[in-house]
């Protein structure tokens, strides 16, 4: 099972405050807050560009 060591093993500890992995409000480092802001702005831009008409343009043909 040496192969498994290449994976990061999940641990069941609750993330500490300022933990890089956390996404909970109040537990975020300034770096994470910045990253969240970038992500939010990106998503808003994607949705604005696509617009609601995207949904009608997305119709697919089913595959086998």
């Amino acid at each position: 099972m040496a192969e498994a060591q290449k994976f990061k093993q999940p641990t069941k500890k609750k993330p500490k405050k300022e933990d890089e992995g956390s996404t909970a409000p109040g537990e975020l480092s300034s770096k994470k807050k910045k990253q969240l802001k970038v992500l939010d702005e990106f998503i808003e831009g994607v949705l604005q560009e696509a617009g609601e008409e995207f949904l009608d343009e997305f119709k697919q043909v089913e595959g086998q």
């Binding site: 099972m1 192969e3 498994a4 290449k6 994976f7 990061k8 093993q9 999940p10 069941k12 609750k14 993330p15 890089e20 992995g21 956390s22 996404t23 909970a24 994470k32 990253q35 969240l36 970038v38 992500l39 939010d40 990106f42 998503i43 808003e44 994607v46 949705l47 696509a50 617009g51 609601e52 995207f54 949904l55 343009e57 997305f58 119709k59 697919q60 043909v61 089913e62 595959g63 086998q64």
Partner: protein
């Protein structure tokens, strides 16, 4: 006795075209397939390889002829065959399936390799899209790795698992109650970690839960059956094993979602490998038969915490049912130790972690994540997507009915590294990656070492100009007056360990075949 659980994924990609109203999905898909094949030298005029449909029998049923359909085999001309198909040197198949590109990974021994091969498929399709820009400079084509267009249509992320013929026959044909007691409850409930999440119902405007765990649950209507485009079954009963049917069978599952998160994909495939091996060894003595599996599949998708009714009257949550399977898996060791599922300890660790995390995950009635102490939003698609949705809802002060949430849902699955919402989220450090980039990149060009995919891939890499046909279970060479076929009927053989030396010594296919004949290629 259980056998190694070779696994492969067939991913159908949704396609969107902008800038050319006359370009059909079929034509765009074929352009992509051929652009990529050309890049690899597979459209060189000297390469005339066909994809061999001779072993495809989509209308034959494992339960017997009465269940099948008498519509004959798919027959297409050689020109169309070459237009839509590309067998690749990494052991995979890239092709046009009806009206979209499809990528079938090579056969993998481990869940980890299968996820890496699936991710390598995304890279290959992205490369195909880039190459298309030179061919169609004024047209924008985008691909989405998901399972529904939100307009009532669904397309699959099919899984295939190698099973021992006797166990497959016993569990799915002669005694399907064995599958009903164990396999089906496992498959119905594994969506709690394997689901990709979806806004609303199968079609926009239909009443239903505001957010679902599974993309496919709305579309599953039967337990067993042949269909893939309507009346979809949890277990597809196509008798098309792509291996020696006396020894091997293929379990073809069509109920799963396409995963963007590596962790979710790994756990989906790995836990299924373990459960199938326990089924083969008759290790699980439980009876978790669901009273109505199809209804339960939908109920769970709409509500993580719901209780579903078992045939014996018990009422359990999906987490509780999964805990039963995990408890068996923790005690299980296969009859043949050499058949042990690779990374089994890690699969169990991830499984246990996720079930604990799901027990502690708190969602409000309006599907706001109130507590996620084990950070499942970094690991499971449906939780990650829900977290992203809720951020947007909060920022825009909008309700679940807002149409842009459906757009967000679809854009999560855009495979473009810069435009896709999943990939941008990953880039910002909000997901847990299991695989290294090198690990994924390796499978763009090379097949896994430890299955027959390696042999197939090596033939395509070295001798494509001499090949006449290829499919999952055979490679054929055109030697002028005669075609020479090399059967690959055992998915566990044809590995690098067995044949690297022979390929190193062979300057052409004739020499390869001579060397194979001078030894023996045991099947």
């Amino acid at each position: 006795m259980s056998i190694p659980k070779i696994v492969g994924i067939e991913q159908e990609y949704a396609i969107k075209i902008k800038g050319d109203e006359n370009l059909s999905f079929f034509d765009a898909s074929c352009t992509l397939v051929n652009a990529y094949a050309r890049r690899l030298g597979l459209r060189n005029p000297k390469v005339n390889m066909l994809w061999d449909y001779g072993h495809e029998t989509p209308y034959q049923d494992i339960r017997g002829d009465l269940f099948g359909k008498n519509t004959g085999q798919q027959i297409i001309g050689e020109k169309e065959n070459r237009l839509i198909n590309a067998g690749l040197p990494n052991g995979a198949r890239l092709y046009t399936d009806h009206a979209h590109p499809e990528y079938s990974t090579p056969e993998c021994l481990s869940a980890r390799d299968a996820v890496a091969c699936d991710k390598a498929g995304e890279i290959i399709l992205r490369e195909g899209l880039n190459l298309m820009k030179d061919i169609l400079p004024f047209t924008s084509v985008t691909l989405y790795k998901n399972n529904t267009d939100q307009q009532g249509h669904s397309y699959g992320c099919h899984e295939n698992y190698l099973m021992a013929a006797h166990a497959h026959e016993a569990c799915l044909v002669s005694h399907p109650e064995r599958a009903l007691k164990t396999l089906i409850p496992f498959l119905v409930t594994r969506q709690i970690f394997a689901g990709s999440g979806k806004v609303g119902d199968s079609k926009r405007g239909n009443p239903g839960p505001p957010y679902q765990i599974s993309q496919r649950a709305d579309f599953m209507q039967n337990l067993f059956g042949l269909e893939t485009m309507y009346a979809r079954p949890l277990i597809n009963t196509r008798r098309e094993h792509h291996a020696d049917p006396k020894r091997f069978r293929r379990l073809h599952l069509i109920l799963g979602d396409a995963n963007m998160c590596e962790f979710a994909g790994f756990l989906k495939l790995g836990s299924t490998q373990l459960v199938l091996q326990m089924l083969e060894d008759d290790f699980m003595d439980c009876d978790l038969t669901l009273k109505d599996p199809i209804k339960a599949n939908k109920q769970i998708s709409g509500n993580l915490g719901c209780v579903v009714e078992l045939a014996d009257g018990r009422k359990l949550t999906a987490v509780q049912i999964q805990q039963e399977f995990m408890a068996y898996a923790q005690k299980f060791r296969p009859t043949d130790p050499s058949s042990r599922v690779p990374d089994d300890d890690l699969i169990l660790n991830c499984w246990s972690y996720v079930l604990d995390g799901l027990e502690q995950l708190k969602l409000s009635a309006d599907m706001v994540i109130e507590d996620d102490p084990l950070l499942l939003s970094r690991r499971l698609d449906w939780v990650l997507k829900l977290w992203i949705m809720n951020r947007y809802r909060e920022g825009q002060n909008c309700t679940w009915g807002h149409p842009l949430l459906t757009v967000l849902d679809l854009q999560y699955h855009n495979i473009d590294g810069k435009e896709g919402i999943f990939y941008r989220t990953q880039d910002q450090g909000f997901t847990e990656q299991l695989l290294t980039n090198d690990e994924i990149a390796r499978f763009v060009h090379a097949a896994p070492d430890n299955t027959r995919a390696w042999f197939r891939g090596k033939c395509l890499e070295k001798f494509a100009e001499e090949m006449y046909l290829v499919n999952w279970e055979v490679v054929g060479f055109d030697q002028g007056d005669i075609y020479r076929m090399i059967p690959l009927l055992n998915p566990l053989k044809g590995t690098r360990g067995q044949y690297q030396e022979i390929f190193d010594q062979s300057r052409n296919a004739r020499e390869l075949i001579a060397l194979l004949e001078s030894g023996s290629m045991e099947q």
